[in-house]
């Protein structure tokens, strides 16, 4: 099987020949002959006599990052299967000059520091979100105008919710 894999700042083509306990893998020009044992949530891989304890979080799907931990080091790896290229590539990032203030975690909005249409400076506080008893002030990364304000004090938000947009 052929796949391409990307990890922070690095991409490689992988070719796998899987015969169960032994796997040969070609990663770009490098060749690995590996002994592989399935463990509870990943693999114990032996390469040239060295042991690599690999844990995989979640089920890898083409185009979606999966977290692989080797020993104490974690890697976010995105695989692309050339066989299912349709639907690949996320929504294009907006090229215009807008900043979305996004909730980094689930929590409760305790204060909204701006109103729709306000002019704000870079670094100005926009919304204060409380989670796990800590209040975190979401700041604007740029100077601009508050063009969208989706929250009010007291409401609960989820990670990834867009709280406000500065343009």
């Amino acid at each position: 099987m052929r796949l391409s894999a990307a990890v922070a700042g690095y991409e490689a083509e992988i070719e796998l020949r899987d015969s169960g306990a032994s796997v040969s893998a070609k990663l770009d020009a490098k060749h690995y002959e590996l002994d592989v044992r399935e463990s509870g949530n990943g693999y114990v891989i032996v390469s040239e006599g060295k042991i690599f304890d690999c844990r995989i979080e979640g089920r890898p799907e083409s185009g979606h990052p999966v977290m692989v931990t080797v020993g104490t080091q974690s890697y976010g790896i995105t695989l692309t299967d050339p066989k299912c290229l349709r639907g690949a590539g996320g929504a294009a990032t907006q090229a215009d000059k807008a900043a979305r203030i996004v909730a980094p975690m689930p929590g409760k909005v305790v204060r909204v520091l701006v109103e729709l249409g306000d002019q704000v400076e870079a670094g100005a506080g926009i919304v204060v979100v409380e989670a796990m008893k800590m209040q975190n002030e979401m700041k604007s990364p740029m100077a601009g105008t508050v063009v969208t304000l989706n929250v009010s004090a007291g409401i609960t938000v989820n990670a990834g919710d867009v709280l406000a947009v500065i343009e």
Binding site: M1, A5, V23, N41, K50, S74, D81, M105, G107
Partner: protein, 517 residues
């Protein structure tokens, strides 16, 4: 001795108290919120009572429901742990009025020390030095500006009812004061229900050193030495050790004597901690506050003195004398604790709630783990993100660090972000290894990290990365393979259930054969 104790807490500290109960042959009773019905502390208890919905204001802070549960269970005493109701005098009184024993100090002592302003007054009366600051709560931003100007910046705003870094803000310049005051006040209201804020001058590059004291109801008061807790983020401790890397017996004796004077001044009973700031530059120490409860970081003192503080708390609450005298206390070796939080150290220590999908705890010589979670548990947004405390003991500081480094590397946890990768770097940091600590350690450490980040990846790390990519690809390939194998089979339900029944019979036979020999 008590037959049954109710533990009015959750997480790792509830588990810790349950363990002390087991040691003493006391039956532990747990309480839980609706979000915690399957939590580890509930599973480890003999009985458990639901005391309300997930938000702690309606459950773990619901004194009436907790006291009701204790009465229903016929418990004789309540251990509050730390946080939640541990330092609320009104709760201690309500427990006593219900005919139960509160495992902690008398409410009067909690009241004096519970307000930081009256605590400062008590310290001054006990001839213990304090940091220059206000002894009264501030009424307005204007008053604050005047006072801050008289001390000189930087200054620290603190909630009078505070603790755990909540309602606390350092202010570097006059222009930041008003917004910091507002944030501190609203955090104070959210966390403690009181808006009172006071102000202190900031001692530059201080160490945070605290003294563990213990007293019984027979007027015996002793100290168990210091803990150094200088490594803090957001004014909350993340690494603590005993003894301090300063390790000066004369300083320990002087600080211990000061802490004992404060405990005596408020007729203290039980375990308590007197916190000081220590300046390396001048050798002076200043009283900061007294925590009228068991501390999160108590294990380092336990490992070095060999004294079980929770067991002692329970014995003292039952009326016994302290099981040791000041002369009995010896400090043997060195212990260091890391607080494993569900937080992302790469993203400003933001909380990282979620499900723990894999957990393998370290062990071996000199390692102690105090966990409040198990594999598969959900870490909820409602509570403090402390998952566990990993503590290493060694004959000296060097060995303790060696063991801690080994245990941190062994500690495997997936599903959520934790502070583990951060600790793995700290125990390899030269400044930490040299013991050059102060409360600004983490921000300087982060700067060192930014500067020292390797531009090129080491060949060893490159192999790790390659193997990680191959492992991901292999998991994908095998999943594809399996789904192709199984997809088109439209099986007869009858055949399937027949096969399942046959399998069950086979496994029954195996279970029978595996029975006791």
């Amino acid at each position: 001795m008590f037959r049954k104790i109710l533990i009015a807490n959750r997480g790792e500290i509830a588990v810790r108290v349950i363990r002390a109960c087991r040691d003493l042959g006391v039956s532990p009773v747990a309480v839980f919120s609706e979000a915690d019905a399957g939590a580890l502390h509930v599973r480890m208890a003999d009985e458990a009572f639901c005391v309300g919905p997930a938000p702690s204001a309606h459950s773990y802070l619901n004194s009436a429901a907790i006291i009701d549960a204790a009465k229903q269970a016929r418990a004789e005493a309540i251990h509050p742990g730390y946080g939640f109701l541990a330092e609320r005098a009104a709760f201690a009184r309500a427990v006593n009025e219900a005919g139960l024993v509160f495992i902690g100090p008398p409410p009067e002592a909690m009241e004096v020390m519970g307000s930081k302003t009256s605590a400062r007054r008590a310290a001054i009366q006990a001839r213990v030095p304090v940091v220059p600051g206000t002894t009264e709560s501030l009424k307005s931003v204007d008053e604050e500006l005047t006072v801050a100007a008289s001390f000189g910046y930087p200054v620290m705003l603190k909630a009078a009812a505070g603790g755990g870094g909540k309602g606390m803000r350092q202010v570097a310049a006059e222009t930041d004061l008003a917004s910091a005051f507002e944030t501190a006040q609203s955090e104070a209201v959210a966390s403690f229900g009181l808006a009172d804020i006071y102000l202190e001058k900031v001692v530059e590059r201080p160490r945070h050193i605290e003294i563990q004291i213990f007293s019984d109801s027979h007027r015996n008061v002793v100290h168990l030495g210091e803990r150094e807790c200088s490594i803090q983020r957001r004014h909350q401790k993340v690494i603590e050790e005993c003894p301090s890397p300063i390790d000066d017996p004369e300083l320990r004796r002087r600080m211990g004597a000061a802490a004992i004077r404060i405990a005596e001044a408020v007729n203290y009973v039980g375990a308590g901690t007197v916190e000081f700031l220590f300046s390396d530059a001048t050798g002076d120490f200043y009283f900061l506050e007294m925590n009228t409860r068991l501390q999160v970081e108590h294990p380092v003192t336990e490992l070095v003195t060999g004294i079980d503080l929770v067991r002692e708390q329970i014995n003292v609450a039952a009326g016994a004398r302290l099981s040791f005298t000041q002369e009995d206390i010896r400090w043997h070796g060195h212990a260091i604790e890391c607080r494993v939080y569900a937080e992302d150290p790469e993203n400003n220590f933001f909380p990282s709630p979620g499900r723990i999908t894999f957990l393998r705890l370290p062990g071996g010589p000199g390692i102690r783990d105090d966990s409040g979670v198990a594999n598969g548990d959900e870490v909820s947004i409602h509570y403090d993100p402390l998952l566990s405390k990993l503590t290493a003991w060694g004959r000296d500081r060097e060995q303790a660090i060696d063991r801690l480094r080994r245990a941190l590397d062994e500690y495997a946890l997936s599903g959520i972000k934790t502070t583990l990768p951060f600790f793995r770097e700290i125990v390899r940091d030269d400044e930490f290894i040299a013991g050059r600590l102060d409360t600004g350690f983490i921000s300087r450490f982060n700067q060192r990290r930014e500067r020292g980040r390797p531009a090129r990846i080491e060949p060893e790390a490159r192999t790790d990365r390659d193997i990680a990519m191959i492992a991901a690809a292999l998991a994908y390939a095998r999943a594809q393979h399996r789904s192709q194998d199984h997809k088109p089979l439209e099986q007869s339900k009858w055949k399937l259930s027949g096969r399942v029944a046959a399998l069950n019979r086979a496994s029954d036979r195996r279970a029978f054969r595996r029975g006791p020999r």
